[in-house]
Symmetry: C2
Subunit: 257 residues, 2 copies
């Protein structure tokens, strides 16, 4: 591994952040709305982000940071080494379910993903990997999932896109074995990495997919914005990731039919 | 507890069945279609059902059994003591995800639920209870969930009903904090018991809801077929369960608007 020291550090930070989250989960949360009544942020999102940013600044003072919460949610470019962070991915689940949320950290170099970490806090399952070195669940290397067709598997979906048939998401779901809606990009990307789902269609910001892309790239999965163009990393956009077979079927038979 | 011996026995059978399922999960499954390409049954569903039926016949030879798989999926009445069993609830998840499925067992006396067990096998979490004695997660008694309104919580949904707005399911989802689709009635009913979701709308058979009703009844939740009539226990029908507040809102503002 080329980044062994950094991997060890990030794992330590994630464990420390997760311990903090678990302890504070049972306290009264301070919940605020961002863009609307279903777009939430809590004091724990902000405190976790601050903790991770402090660690990065302390150990890697020249690196730049793109992160979900206030003050860090835009960058003019991905030049140099950039950390992309979602302190709590699935804040609605965090507030309502107290489970099914993740901490996500990615390290990119000049726009190319080097390290990815998706930590399902309540399951204590860390999915992580380094470019060209495979994907791990905690200490166990994950096997390459099967290149399954759309009709052979379940697909994770954004509920609104499915209901409104945006980019044929409703028809795509109908052609699959079924849709699942977890409300957490990290949980959905983990389902792809484990071979549980054949794909995921949603409306995502860079911090929702940056870590996951490093990992699904290791397995040769396909991903892009929903029209088939590279993800921009500078805005929220419609996102698709899938097995190569299901991705091609979705593009040809549904999205560009 | 009035049924302490029976509770101990059922817990033992569930553990034994779950051990069998876990061991065989990594083997090649023998998967068949029932009513269509997304309605699956496996050899493990059938073997688990057979195991449970044998135990019941051995210990309670005069009792009758209603169960999902072949030969046991209808009864002329619920007179006397009846066991209602779903050996693997969420067979699609069982096949595709190897998680997010449950074993469910209910005991009814003359149509009234006495005991309910929902066992999330891969999480090793057993939700169970006896009429008038509360609900437990393994050995821990669950607290009474809040009587939250529709706009205050997440709701579990059948994906097809949501997409096609059947009985206003799409509009109901939009009025909530968001929908979740797990593909497993047991997982959805557990989410209600934990206070994670305010309700669940789906299309269910008696073995999908029998155990869950015993448990949600302990917390005073509301449930019925979607039109507000008692569940028939003799067919698949549209099902709704929710906090009293959210149930009333859904009936008045959406279903019978």
């Amino acid at each position: 591994m080329t980044n062994e020291k950094m991997i060890i550090e990030i794992k330590e930070w994630l464990k420390e952040a997760a311990d903090y989250i678990r302890v504070n989960l049972t306290n009264e949360l301070d919940v605020s709305q961002k863009s609307g009544r279903t777009d939430l942020v809590t004091n724990i999102d902000e405190e976790t982000q601050l903790f991770l940013i402090k660690k990065i600044n302390q150990h890697y003072p020249n690196d730049r940071i793109l992160a979900e919460e206030k003050g860090f949610n835009s960058l003019d470019s991905l030049n140099g080494r950039v950390w992309i962070i979602d302190p709590i991915d699935g804040t609605m689940n965090f507030v309502m379910e107290h489970e099914n949320f993740c901490i996500m950290i990615a390290v990119y170099q000049d726009g190319v993903g080097q390290l990815g970490f998706i930590y399902d806090v309540m399951k204590d399952e860390l999915y992580w990997g380094e470019k060209d070195h495979g994907v791990f669940q905690n200490d166990r290397r994950l096997p390459q999932p099967k290149d399954a067709a759309l009709s052979e598997g379940l697909i994770g979906m954004n509920a609104y896109m499915y209901r409104k048939n945006i980019y044929s998401a409703g028809e795509i779901g109908h052609a699959s074995m079924g849709i699942r809606v977890s409300g957490c990009a990290g949980v959905e990307l983990i389902a792809i990495l484990k071979g549980n789902h054949i794909g995921y269609i949603s409306n995502l910001s860079p911090w929702d997919y940056a870590a996951g892309l490093v990992l699904i790239n290791e397995f040769g999965f396909s991903y892009s914005n929903i029209e088939g163009n590279p993800l921009a990393f500078d805005k929220r956009e419609y996102f698709i990731a899938a097995t190569p077979k299901a991705y091609t079927e979705m593009q040809e038979k549904f999205i560009h039919k």
